[in-house]
Amino acid sequence: MLRLIVNRILFMIPAGLLLLTFLFALFHIIPGDPAHLLAGDNATLEVIQSIEKEYGFDQPVHVQYMKYMAKVLQGDFGVSNYTRDPVTDSVIPRIYNTFLLAVLSMLFAMIMSLVLGCTSAMYWNRPLDRIVTVFSLIGICTPVFVTGILGIYFFSIYLDWLPIGGMATWQHFVLPVITLGTYQAAILTRMVRSCMVDALGKDFITTARAKGVSEFVVVFKHALRNALLPIVTLFGLGLGHTLGGSVVTESIFNWPGLGRLMVQSILTRDLPITQGALFFFAMIFIIVNLVVDIIYAWVDPRIKYD
């Protein structure tokens, strides 16, 4: 177990370096002229040349790469093109905000999907199951931004109960968390249901029922415990998707998170911020993946990673 954890953490070092190289390549080699990209479509030659000089784009690529890596490894991601603040100052506080949103949404989705999925499987092929299935299908087919806009319309404008956006009090959390969580819950409910239907079809369930165990205990103790392995896998994947979905949710509710920062920096061509935000976002994904892997190994000791 310890070896697995150490191995995986060591694996993150080359992954991080590769990621930085990839980000460097992305913005320096592929699109042709990064200075042009920064300056915009209608920039004059002088502007482009001054940008080239400032960022060192006029130097050979390998020199630029070494300089970039040396700076980044010292924690210097450059300064924003607009505010001139260090990139790390605007990126790092937002990691927490994004993570908070994603984790709360995932908790909401986990609880909802476990309750709905188990009830649905209990009443398999009966009206209640049908209703849950139809609702989860509707949830899967409704994009986050439609749910979010409808939520804003009903709860913030029509009823005036909740704030439209931002992140100050607990009320600000309600709409974003439910919007992002509902979408995940819809996907997960479907899968929890099919895992539970599988588990409820096993022989030991028949045995338990024959013993006279109450239906509640059959479902939530005998079946759920045995269906838990695939469900844990699903939840692991779900956290990654929730983090991805947070990009859109943050933009709907003006959430001061990493995703919104990234989108805005792309729209305003703030290249250093884009690079920094992408790096930290990708590292979060890699770390979440690592943690999920370790949890699998802990939940299911049969799993051996080499």
């Binding site: 992954a15 992305l26 913005f27 592929i30 699109p31 299908l137 509707i138 899967i140 087919c141 409704t142 994009p143 986050v144 931004f145 439609v146 806009i149 409808l150 804003i152 319309y153 404008i157 099919s194 599988d198 990654g240 998707h241 983090l243 991805g244 979905g245 990009v247 859109v248 933009s251 709907i252 990234m262 989108v263 792309i266 729209l267 884009t274 992408l278 976002f281 990708a282 994904f285 890699i286 993946n289």
Partner: protein, 277 residues
């Protein structure tokens, strides 16, 4: 034909198949069926609530929302269709090749796809758009690149199992080269799982294409797109909430019918799946 007959046994599949067909007919004929010009600006007729003349009302520039929703259907159908084609054309040959050849190329390619699969579609798409620029072609490239690892994996998986078959061995013994084997023996086996994957990818692409344009990173105005129309409508939620109705319904209907058709397709091609349900 046999496939169609089996598909038609699923009544839900047929119903949503017809809706999807209808949406594609609308997409193909969009230029001719729009009730008024979707680009014509008439500021005096702005923010008109739904009426017999304008079913979904008019937007801030007085453009007919119904016409814009109809034209956006074409934009979405085009963008997602081309993105699937792109993912397919770039992913399947790579998957078949590395699956058949094996060796270090296979490990390198598969490691790379594993790494890409850690990241959700929307994140990869945003990275590509950041580089390629926010435009229709940017979205096609972004969606295509974000899903092509999936196609590599499927093509490789099937190739791995098929290349052990006796008829492949016989073909090698008869002296055929790798290209001949890939085209004549492996490709026919890959077609079915690839078609299933392509239909399952369609709703994902529709959702992500509209999410990108909601964020302002996708199809650019004045070309209408559902996500972008919803983003604009959000600013006028208080005075004219009806602006969200048209694009939201169209988007929901497209994703729903594409999902249902994909599921039915999959069940028709692998009847085993149905029994489990």
């Amino acid at each position: 034909m046999e496939f169609l007959r089996r598909y038609c046994r699923d009544r839900m599949g047929v119903f949503f198949g017809l809706i999807l067909l209808f949406l594609y007919v609308v997409a193909l004929t969009a230029q001719w069926i729009t009730p008024s010009d979707p680009f014509k600006i008439n500021l005096r007729a702005g923010f008109e609530p739904p009426s017999a003349e304008h079913w979904f009302g008019t937007d801030q520039f007085g453009r007919d929302m119904l016409s814009r929703v109809i034209l956006a259907t074409q934009v979405t159908a085009k963008v997602t269709g081309l993105a699937i084609l792109f993912a397919l054309i770039s992913g399947v040959p790579i998957g078949m090749f590395v699956g058949y050849r094996g060796g270090w190329i296979e490990s390198v390619v598969m490691r790379m796809t594993d790494m890409l699969l850690i990241f959700p579609t929307i994140m990869l798409a945003i990275v590509v758009v950041a580089v390629a620029g926010a435009s229709e072609n940017g979205v096609i490239l972004a969606l295509g690149l974000s899903q092509f690892p999936q196609f590599i994996r499927i093509a490789r998986g099937v190739t791995l199992s098929v290349k052990e078959e006796l008829y492949v061995e016989a073909s090698i013994a008869a002296g055929s080269g790798w290209f001949h084997i890939l085209v004549h023996h492996i490709w026919p086996n890959i077609a079915t799982p690839i078609i299933v994957q392509a239909t399952l990818t369609l709703p994902v692409f529709v959702l992500n294409a509209s999410a990108l344009s909601y964020l302002g990173l996708g199809v650019q105005p004045p070309t209408p797109e559902w996500g972008q129309m919803l983003n604009e409508a959000k600013d006028f939620l208080l005075p004219s909430p009806y602006l969200i109705v048209g694009p939201a319904i169209a988007l929901f209907l497209f994703v729903l019918s594409a999902n249902m058709v994909g599921d039915t397709f999959q069940e028709t091609l692998n009847p085993k799946l149905k029994k489990r349900k």
